[in-house]
Symmetry: C2
Subunit: 230 residues, 2 copies
């Protein structure tokens, strides 16, 4: 039996992941104001760990604070997603190249397991989460700590956006699962080959294709807005 050192999580960490879930699931709605005292009392803790959690969530882009310091659930616009897209395009191929060079067998097995889980996922939300986790694994396997850290500032926004889109336009996502699995299998194969340049290229393609999704969904969102709003 291997006893690996266990990390004793803070209250702040727990609060953060609780809030993450609540935001990603849509329980807390974009734009909504979330006062610290309310969160603290609802979670049964004091404001101190809540404050810390909110700072971290701001770094992850899930909440924003206005001029007066009050925190709101982030409202992601298409412009935001364009920013995120351009940064993914800058960061992830870099990391993929490094991963191809440095990753261990263990890393590859974890990636393969993720793909298998994605194949058997039974809900879109699960696919989304596993998708983000897959990219997370690659960023980590790259050994580039700062890039992985930056990625943390993007991934939850990606998840939040996809969640939002799914809730609005379920029909659009029919083929998501099989396409994700296919793309990730291609990526894993290239990563395993150890060819850094090829890995960069494949990741670039993967993200570019993801952008098509973005435009399409934005389009659908715009159409539906026009239908419901005026």
């Amino acid at each position: 039996m291997s006893l690996s050192p266990l990390s004793r999580p803070n209250l702040a960490h727990i609060v953060r992941s609780r809030l993450s879930e609540a935001i990603l699931s849509g329980e807390l709605e974009p734009g909504q104001h979330v006062p610290e005292p309310e969160l603290a009392s609802r979670l049964g803790v004091s404001r101190a760990p809540v404050r810390e959690a909110l700072i971290e969530l701001e770094r992850q882009g899930l909440v924003t604070s206005d001029s007066r310091g009050r925190t709101h659930i982030a409202r992601l616009t298409l412009e935001d997603m364009e920013e995120i897209y351009s940064l993914r395009l800058a960061l992830e191929p870099l990391a993929a190249g490094l991963t191809a060079e440095r990753a261990t067998t263990q890393d590859f097995e974890t990636l393969a397991a993720n793909i298998a889980a994605t194949e058997q996922a039974t809900s879109l939300a699960e696919v989304t989460r596993l998708d983000a986790a897959f990219h997370d694994l690659i960023m980590r396997a790259s050994g580039h700590r700062r890039a992985a850290h930056f990625w943390e500032g993007l991934r939850y926004q990606v998840e939040a956006w996809l969640g939002l889109m799914q809730r609005r336009h379920q029909a659009v996502f029919h083929s998501t699962q099989v396409e994700t699995v296919k793309a990730h299998k291609r990526l894993l194969k290239v990563l395993r080959s150890g060819d850094a340049a090829a890995a960069e290229e494949e990741m670039k393609k993967h993200i570019v294709s993801w952008r098509r999704w973005l435009a399409m969904e934005a389009d659908a969102a715009a159409r539906s807005d026009r239908k419901t709003a005026p």
Copy 2:
């Protein structure tokens, strides 16, 4: 006269910039442990704002916290600088391209003023600060908020590293000032032309040439370590 809304600074902000200065100037040494109670009493505030400042400083890479949550002044290694270099190479050309497309006359004037100030700077520390500020201005002028935010997580580490090098090997930096001015003038010219691709290319070259510095300084550091250590 344009009166932009002024941000009323927190104690946490003040503490942060004080600590920034102390770290960049070398008053607080790399690796040194900095207990919250001590900082709080030395600055005459309570631990709350100090804690917040430390979280932000950690994001900026100036301090790190160990497994027990204790804060230390960051000790930058050559490996760290390689990471930072690769990220600059990913982020800054992207931003430079956007800046070429979007920047206002006002932005260009601020950049020109920065170059003028660099030309007249009387100390290396000042050149370093203005250099970082120049890149800061470009990141901001790009309008890419997330990229600018990420850059904040790098710039102070760059400053800290350069400061450290300067203190160790003053002689190496003879030509820094004139070279910086020249390079920045070239950059500004391309940015003003509005040619995004050219701006990307020029920024890439600028950063690649900065990497040569990195290697050279690392080399000098290694030599001097060998001389003093064993």
